[in-house]
Structures are given as C-alpha cells and as structure tokens.
Amino acid sequence: MLQYIIKRLLLLPFLLFIFSIIAFILIQAPPGDFVTSYIAELASSGSAVDQAQIDALRAQYGLDQPMYIQYFKWMGRILTGDLGMSLDWKKPIRELISERLLLTVMLGLFTFIFTWIVAIPIGILSATRQYSFFDYFFTVFNYVGVATPTFMTALVLMWLAFKYFGVSVTGLFSPEYVDAPWSWGRVVDLLKHIWLPAVILGMDGTARLARVMRANLLDELKKPYMEMARAKGMSEWRLVLKYPVRLAINPLVSTIGWYLPMIFSGSVIVATVMNLPTIGPMLLRSLITQDMFLAGSIILIYMALAVIGTLISDILLAWLDPRIRMEES
C-alpha cells in the first residue's frame, strides 16, 4: 500500500509539468494577446494608441518573445513561488486569487460533504427498500434534481429567502465582514452563509450520486455473498453496511478526482447569480481579457487540484478494494 502511494506521488511532478504545458498552450490559443484586447478596450472608449506604444507594451510584458521562452520564464517564476502580475488588474496574482481560492475550495468541500452525507444514505435506503414509497419518492425527487438547472434552484431559493425571511442571501459574508481581515467572527459569518450555496451547488450532484449509489447497491444486493452473510446469522443492517455498500461506493470514489474542478467550473453561473467571491467568475474574466498569467495560474491550480483529487481517490480505492491494491504491487 505504501509502495503504491509513493509510486503515485513520484508521478505527480511529471503530470503537473505536462499539464502546465497544456495550460500554457490553451491560454495562447485564442488569436491576439492581452495587448490586443487592451487596445480594443481603449479604442472603444475613444482613446487612440500608436504602434510604438503597442510595441513598448508588448516588450514590457514579454509578449514579443517566442512562445517557449515565455513558457520557461513563466514556469521559472512559478517554481520560485511567484505567480506574476495580472496584466488586467495590475496586481500580484497571488494577492488576487488567494482568498478567492480558499473560499472556492471551502465551498467545494462543503458541497462535497453535503452531497455525500445526503446522497449515500438515500441511495442505500432506496436500494434496500426497492419499490417502497421512500424509493419512489426519491426517484422522482432525483429526476427533478438532475433536470433543474442549478442557477434556477439558486434564483428560486434566493427569491424565497428574500420574500419570506427578508434576507438577501448573496455573497459568502455579511457586509461588515466582506473586506475585513480573517478573524473568528469572520469564520463564523462564513459558516452562516456558505451552507446555502453549498446546498444549491450540491443539489444536482446529490441527485446523481443517490441514483448511482442505488443502482450499484441493487447489483451488489443480488450477489451470493449476501445470502451467505445472511446464512451466518448477521443482522440485515450490519451486513448491508459491511459488505455490499463498500463495493457499491467504489465506483463513486473514483469520481472524487474531478470533483473539485467540476465544482469550480460548474459554479461560474451560480457564483455570478449569487455574487459569490469564488474563483470561477475571475477565471471567466481573465479569459475574456486574455490576462494570460492570471488565467494560466488559475488553470494550473485547477489541474493541480484535479491531479491531487485523483491521487486521493486512487488511494481510497486501493484501501477499499484489496484487488486493486494487489494489482498495483
């Protein structure tokens, strides 16, 4: 098992290197660069820019150099922990994204916990009581959950909260805490706000997860080892939780890897609607303005999270299923 984990860890830097190249190429892919879109913006606001100025700008940002040199310079800086400056915001990127990143990861975590805590028991109960009222109820509920766009849920819930409780549930903080430095009070305030977006963002995933869990478990419940465990005299609950659930959860665990990135990108609309200070909207803007170092940093962090998530899910899988453990070593 330890060997397996070390092997995976050694692979990590290599994967990140490849991903960083892909990230860089992707950002460079659209025609033009930051200066082009900057000038377009200036032009639309009426000011004229001459070619000398443009070239000076390009040189200043290093945009006149060949792509691979730009990449290595960028990488070199990142390896020393410097994410560079945002061309658009004219601020250090680290300063720009660190809080947003933290909040996004927190929101992702809360959403994840909500999803699993709700979906797994529903899946188990639906499967063990197949065709009961409970099962039918949640089947319908899950279909609705999957079919409703998340931003719709967000709008409806926000409207309800406003209409019946008179509270405006946008953002992740009360006004007095928005720009305040971190303190105990701010953490508590965050916890008061974060659950609603977490529930909204998790709705869809919960419905999906519950359905997959139900289907997986129904398959497992038919296996002969169930009959054998019953024949031993185990109580039904203990048996269900010990044997089939562990196997039914397996395929779900393998999805943990791309969970965080999914929350990131999936939350852009909701984040916009609910005015959440998460990273999705910032990435969107940086892509539009071709703020390449900002976009690059965010995408790189996404990828790193995806890789780490996959690593975690691989380790969990190996822990849950000894057959995987054996295969690897």
Partner: protein, 346 residues
C-alpha cells in the same frame, strides 16, 4: 430407528408472487432429518431444492414467501436449558432466535464458494465474524479458532491463509474455507447446496470425503443437495427425490438405488450410464422437458413425461407421499390411491 428427528419439514409451500403469476417453487414438501443422518435431496435443476433449504434457513429472497407448512427444529437455546421444538416457519426471518439458529445451529455450505465470500475482506475476517456472532469469544480467540478450523479442513499453511482473500485461493481451498466457516460454530445441521458442482472431479471427491469425515467426528446431520445421483450414492444415508416443487420418493439410499418405487426415480437412475461416470447431465434419456414454472401440469406433476401415465387418473388428481413399504414412501398412483384433492375435501 426410533430417534426423534432433528428437523422435520411438513407440507412446506414457498411461492413467489411475480407479475406474470405465482411460481410455486416448493409445493408441499415433507421430509425428516435424524440426528447424525446425511439426507440427500436430488432432482433436476429448478425443482425447488435451493428454495426448500432457503426456506429452512429463512433466507428466501423477496417476493418469495412461505405460504404453508411447518419446519420443526430441535432448538438448543444459548442458556443451555432444555431443547425445545420450534417451528422455524413461524419465526421472524430476521429475528433474534432465527439469527442465532442460522449459522449457529444450522449452517450453510453454498454452491459457489467463489462468490459466497466477499472479495474485499479476508477469508479469516469472514470466518471470525461467523464465530463471534455465535460464540462468546474474543477476537484473538476467534482468530486462533479460525486457524485451527482451516487446519482441520485441510487448508495448508493456515496461519498464512487466514489473511488471504478468497480470490487468492484455488477453488478447492475456497470450498474448504467455506466448510471451515460452516462448521465454525459446531452446528447440529449442515446444509450443503451442491457444494461440489463448481470444482473439478478430483477435488470434488476430496471435499466429499472431508464432509463425510467431519460428519462422523462431530455426528452432525447433513442435508446434501445435488442433481448428481453419483454424489448421492457416495455420501447420503437417506434420499429425497424432488420434482417440480414436490417430493416424489423418499427412502434409504440402498433402496432408492436398488428398488426404486417411483417412475421418476427410475427414470433418473436410468439416465446415468454408470454411477462412476463424470457426466453431470442427467436428463437426455428422460422423455420430454421440465414444464415452465407458470405452466404446472394438473394432477401428478410428472405425468406428461411418465411412462406409466394413467389417463383420467394421473392428470386429474395429485398423488400424495405415502409409505409404500417399511422404508420407502412415494407419491404415485401406482402404489396407492390417496390424492391431495380427496384429502382436502374431507
């Protein structure tokens, strides 16, 4: 043989209510198991052997249910008070008493040892679990006992195999481990549901010998299910022949083989070229095929295929199991005229 039976199944009926209709998987089965006796249940695939023993263990899966009959078992309560005769059919399937009997007093050796162990726990873990469910032992003691049990059933290097997963063992070893689990709580009745179909012939013979040895050492009763009469000849003392959810004939193994009374038993015997043969397909020489469970023939279930079929009798009335001599019983109008219809009419 004036011993009281350990298990006495009386007129057991277990049906499955499906959308398409009712499958009468077990439709009036009766037999006794005496202490220390090996009872072989034989019959073609689908005749209700597994459902019968699942009913005894009360693990029939939904929508199956016991609709009628008694399953009388001499239960030994934990507090070592006197044996009591209880009707398993009346117990709550997942109640405390039934769970203490299941695995504790009546243990199952399943057909497919590969699939009957969970792949994600070690064999030792699963055997220890069975022990700790029924005996007041610590984890350490349970593990020790597991190793001894594995040794007893002939698993080499039991100290290491106890930590192996089922998929790391060969078919024969897996079945031995299953047997170790089944005998782990000193059951008084072992139920083996075709325990040798999934393994090769040599190993099959070894497993049969092992069961026979264990049975003699511990004086355990065994219900042995198979559709292989050759296996029955090797292991059983007493035979129950089933067809379409009903018992056709019962009797001591020698009488069944040398003096079969029921036309179905005779057809079965004729269909094995030789008892030593490896062929497991019994039926090509019995005329006709098994009716679909929804299409049970009226009267004697065997009449469409019976060479002695008597029109106007066998297809109208259903014969019941009746003694035909001092040792055997058969449900066939060649031997008596007692029909279910006349019995219920009275």
């Amino acid at each position: 043989m004036n011993q009281l039976p350990l298990l006495s199944v009386k007129n057991l009926k277990t049906y499955f209510d499906l959308d398409e209709g009712t499958v009468k998987a077990v439709d009036g089965v009766s037999f006794d198991v005496l202490p220390g006796q090996v009872v072989g249940i034989v019959g073609e695939s689908g005749c209700g052997k597994s459902v019968t023993i699942k009913s005894v263990l009360r693990i029939v899966e939904k929508p199956g249910r016991i609709v009628e009959g008694e399953i009388l078992f001499r239960h030994q309560p934990d507090d070592a008070s006197e044996e009591q005769l209880i009707d398993l059919a009346k117990l709550k399937a997942n109640g405390k008493t039934m769970r203490s009997i299941r695995g504790g007093e009546i243990a199952l050796i399943p057909q497919e040892p590969m699939a009957a162990f969970s792949p994600v726990y070690t064999v030792g873990n699963q055997i220890m679990e069975a022990i700790m469910l029924h005996l007041p032992v610590s984890k350490q003691e349970a593990r020790q006992r597991t190793i001894e049990l594995l040794r007893e059933v002939g698993v080499p290097m039991p100290e290491r195999r106890v930590d192996a997963y089922s998929w790391e063992l060969s078919g024969g070893l897996r079945q031995r481990a299953m047997i170790a689990m089944a005998i782990s709580c000193n059951p008084r009745l072992l139920i083996a549901d075709e325990p040798t179909t999934a393994i090769d012939v040599t190993t099959q013979a070894q497993i049969l010998n092992l069961l026979r040895d264990l049975q003699q050492q511990h004086n355990t009763s065994i219900i042995f299910i198979t559709h292989d009469l050759g296996v029955i000849a090797q292991i059983a003392d007493y035979v129950v022949v089933m067809y379409l959810g009903r018992v056709m004939e019962t009797g001591p193994v020698d009488d069944i083989f040398h003096n079969p009374q029921h036309p179905y038993t005779r057809a079965l015997l004729k269909s094995i070229p030789s008892i030593r043969s490896q062929s497991r397909t019994l039926l090509p020489t019995i005329e006709g095929s098994i009716p679909h469970p929804f299409n049970r023939p009226p009267g004697c279930p065997f009449h469409p295929r019976c060479v002695d079929f008597m029109p106007g009798v066998c297809n109208v009335q259903t014969p019941v199991l009746q003694p035909v001599n001092e040792r055997q019983a058969a449900s066939c109008f060649l031997h008596h005229s007692i029909a279910e219809e006349t019995l219920t009419a009275v």
